[in-house]
């Protein structure tokens, strides 16, 4: 009875958190002092930013953490309105049975600059009643005034050793049979992302067989977006119409964003070079086009048109 293992084995206390030892040590000081500055957690996906934040909140705020805690993640509306209303109203109130209140804003780098500016004032106005924990993938996307108001913690990708240890722990408790090579393979594909690792593990285990090198490979290749690969293959073979239809399909039906498409195309192309299926002249030409396309999309062009134009370069 568990549902997703990522949730079931989300560490509940600071001590349980995998990797990130030095960070935990510093955070534990705040627990002892019962006070903390505004914090900013930065790092790639799946390294425990959210988990650490929630565990920290639970230990500092104690039994009444739910009443004194506000979590806003990227899918919640976080325009200026929210910052001015919801967050302000939350900060204004006195903490209930706790030293202060905590607001956790996930993926702050996806907030608009305006919203960030609205936030900075609130961060220092309510220091007596509330503390902020911000998390983001790239601290460079956060405006300087906010960075200067926070103690910044950089989360590194989780190293292989601790990841395997955790995976073994999960296997033991879930009674999952495994081979060591299988787990090593998971670590290889997860690239330091614990969420991905556990998802791969559960996917492998769902078929009821041992987790082996092959089964991991099978899951990973099944889960990898196939359409992009097919799209590039058809573009390379000269069938532009088919490639374009696939592009529209993935972008419109699956709702993949332009930036994600670029990343996927880049990964696919570089894999082709790795495998020796593409010569370096063509590769560097394509990288030129991809980089240019990426830049234009970020500059505010229509991603679909730009990507269609990019596809013509593959012909």
């Amino acid at each position: 009875m568990s549902g997703p293992l990522v949730e079931k084995y989300r560490p509940q206390t600071l001590d349980d958190i995998v990797g990130q030892k030095s960070i935990i040590k510093r955070l534990q000081k705040y627990v002892g002092e019962k006070s903390m500055p505004n914090l900013m957690f930065t790092g790639p996906a799946g390294v425990g930013k959210t988990t650490t934040a929630i565990a920290l909140v639970k230990t500092i705020l104690g039994d009444y953490w739910r009443q004194n805690f506000l979590e806003l993640n990227a899918s919640d509306a976080r325009g200026i309105e929210t910052v001015r209303n919801n967050i302000k109203n939350f900060c204004r109130l006195k903490p209930v049975n706790a030293p202060f209140r905590i607001i956790f804003l996930d993926e702050v780098d996806n907030m608009t600059k305006d919203a960030q500016h609205a936030l900075r004032r609130e961060m220092e106005m309510y220091t007596k009643t509330a503390s902020f924990i911000l998390s983001c993938n790239y601290s460079s996307k956060i405006i300087d005034p906010i960075q200067s108001r926070c103690a910044i913690f950089r989360f590194a990708p989780i190293n292989g050793e601790s990841m395997i240890k955790r995976l073994k722990y999960i296997c033991k408790h879930q009674k999952i049979k495994y081979e060591d090579e299988g787990l090593e393979n998971i670590v290889y594909f997860a690239e330091g992302d614990m969420r991905k690792a556990i998802n791969i593990l559960q996917s492998c285990a769902s078929e009821g067989e041992k987790v082996t090198e092959e089964s991991v490979y099978e899951v990973v290749s099944k889960a990898r977006p196939q359409d992009v690969n097919l799209m590039i293959t058809s573009a390379l073979s000269g069938d532009f119409m088919k490639a374009r239809d696939l592009l529209k399909e993935t972008m419109i039906i699956q709702g993949t964003s332009g930036e994600d498409m670029i990343t996927q195309i880049y990964t696919d192309v570089s894999k082709r070079v790795y495998d020796g299926k593409m010569n370096s002249d063509i590769y560097i030409e394509l990288i030129d086009a991809i980089a240019d396309c990426d830049f234009r999309i970020r500059e505010g062009a229509n991603p679909r048109i730009q990507l269609e134009a990019l596809l013509t370069k593959f012909l």
Binding site: M1, S2, G3, P4, V6, E7, A45, T50, T51, I54, E71, N73, A74, S75, D106, E107, N110, R195, N199, I200, Q202, S203, S206, E207, G208, V219, K222, A223, R224, P225, G238, F240, M241, R244, K248, E249, I252, I253, Q254, G255, S257, C293, R296, E299, G300, A301, N302, R304, I305, Q306, E308, A309, T312, K313, L315
Partner: protein, 518 residues
């Protein structure tokens, strides 16, 4: 004087076209005159075909009329104030009808005219007077509630022969010498919009009283769809910059034109180099459209238009000699078709983001794994139970439904687990209660002075007992460490009993304090 005013029909019969619809309206009118109240009339149709004219002519047949159109503020209050009251009241003894015209109903503004649609519904419900509603777009969202309550009359565009006939008559009366062919062309260009046709007719014949072929070339035909397809065709087929530039002077949104051109480039151009070059230009055009939008400097549009027009046209080596059917962009139809799917996906992502502290984007990135996990029936049930998916949402991850026997089995298991959890919780709670009530009793005891002394005694005894059962404990530890706990209690109670005095409180007290002491 404007001809549109001058030649405005004086009676319903004078109105050109829509004969069937006119008959229907006449019937409606006759019924009112006989004193039979009718449903409100809803006239829908494109611009310039005589809806408002017709409405005014109908209104003349009644005793009085009120009109409310887009130039008036039409919020709920405003509508109720101007027509609401009068629509529901009636003179007592005479038949007195006030015709109410609500023009451009589909143009009621969402925020500025708050509650407007609701007010119209109200007026329809209450009205004892003839009511005429006029709208352009039959499928407008604002009409959905209204149109069911009305007699809908869909007015058609006016056919060019009818317009032509009228033009001949007007030309005669105004003394304009016009080539019959030119008049014919002019009435065709109107695209069924009589008002615009009449306006342009007047505009070109005002200067000189003759009308020749060259004169009408200045008038762009009104139908926008043909111009965009025209423009794209020219871009595809021509290599002459001046022609292309001319064709792209339209009122259309450049973004739409770009979509059209992009859609048709690979359908028309066949060489790789051509497609590449064309798309390079389109990408640049798009870049400038984006910049224009971001900086609100719409001067950039001209570069975009040149890139997508002359740039794309110039990308081909030579014009293809074949018939080209211009295809409208497939993106829009795809978007429409997949709206439901997209909504479903977003709903699932939202559920996940709530339960798992992740953003929608991360949730969607987990979909492929979920798809694999959902191949297992039991796991599928567990996950959808955890995330509270409904059947429709499960369907996104697996084609088959979860078998019923699996569902039953899993639900049973869940209940068992829940029961055992409840049991544990109950135990915890009862322990807590015992503790708290014990403390309470302690306080009560402290209140009684007489007990204080006995208490002292008890503490003495307790010390003894503690010492005693430490000894006992040591003994048991050696013998059987597991039993110690039970034995502890026993020995303790024994000792307490030994020290028992007449006072009941004392007894209780000692029990409890001794309970706490280990």
């Amino acid at each position: 004087m404007l001809w549109t005013e001058k030649y405005r029909p004086k009676s319903i019969d004078d109105v050109i076209g829509n004969n069937k619809e006119k008959k229907e309206i006449q019937q409606w009118l006759d019924q009112w005159k006989k004193g039979n109240p009718q449903k409100p009339l809803l006239l829908v149709g494109s611009a310039g075909i005589g809806k408002t004219t017709l409405a005014h002519l109908i209104a003349e047949q009644f005793d009085e009329s009120i009109e409310l159109n887009a130039s008036d503020k039409r919020s709920q209050d405003e509508i109720m104030k101007t027509v609401g009251e009068s629509s529901s009241s009636m003179p007592l003894f005479s038949q007195f009808y006030k015709c109410i015209i609500l023009d451009e109903v589909d143009g009621i503004h969402g925020t500025n005219d708050r509650g407007g649609v609701k007010a119209i519904n109200e007026v329809i419900k209450k009205s004892k007077h003839p009511l005429i509603l006029i709208a352009n777009d039959f499928y407008s969202k604002r009409l959905t509630t209204i149109k069911t309550k009305c007699q809908v009359i869909k007015m058609k565009k006016i056919r060019s022969p009818s317009i032509n006939k009228l033009f001949k008559k007007i030309a005669e009366e105004e003394g304009v010498k016009a080539d019959p062919e030119v008049l014919k062309e002019l009435s065709k260009k109107a695209g069924g919009d009589l008002r615009s046709a009449l306006n342009s007719f007047q505009a070109i014949s005002d200067e000189n009283k003759t009308l020749e072929k060259e004169d009408i070339e200045n008038i762009s035909s009104k139908d926008d769809r043909s111009t965009i397809i025209n423009a794209v065709t020219v871009v595809m087929k021509s290599k002459t910059p001046s022609n292309v530039k001319k064709a792209l002077i339209t009122e259309e949104d450049p973004n739409l034109i770009m979509e059209y051109i992009a859609e048709n480039v690979p359908r028309e151009y066949k060489k790789k180099k051509e497609i590449q070059k064309a798309y390079e230009n389109l990408a640049k055009a798009d870049l400038y459209l984006g910049r224009a939008q971001q900086s609100r400097n719409y001067g950039y549009w001209k570069y975009a238009t040149d890139y997508m027009g002359v740039g794309v046209a110039n990308s081909k080596d030579e014009t293809y000699r074949k018939f080209t059917k211009i295809t409208s962009p497939t993106v829009f139809s795809k978007m429409r078709k997949n709206k439901g799917k997209k909504n479903l996906r977003d709903k699932i992502a939202e559920k996940m983001s709530e339960k798992m502290h992740i953003s929608n984007a991360v949730a969607i990135s987990m979909f492929p794994y979920l798809k694999i996990m959902f191949e297992n029936d039991e796991l599928a049930w567990e996950i959808s139970d955890f995330l509270e998916f409904n059947d429709e949402e499960i369907k996104l991850f697996r084609k088959k439904k979860i078998p019923k026997n699996v569902i039953r089995k899993m639900e049973k298991q869940k209940n068992q687990i829940r029961e055992s959890k409840k049991e544990k919780y109950r135990e915890k709670i009862s322990e807590k209660i015992i503790k708290e009530t014990g403390e309470l009793a302690k306080n009560e005891v402290e209140d009684i002075e007489s007990v204080i002394e006995t208490q002292k005694e008890i503490t003495k005894i307790e010390k003894k007992t503690q010492q005693n059962y430490k000894k006992e404990e040591d003994k048991f530890k050696i013998k059987n460490p597991k039993k110690t706990v039970e034995n502890k209690k026993e020995t303790k109670e024994k000792l307490v009993e030994d020290s028992k005095k007449d006072d009941k409180n004392k007894n209780e007290k000692s029990k409890q304090t001794s309970l706490f002491s280990f």
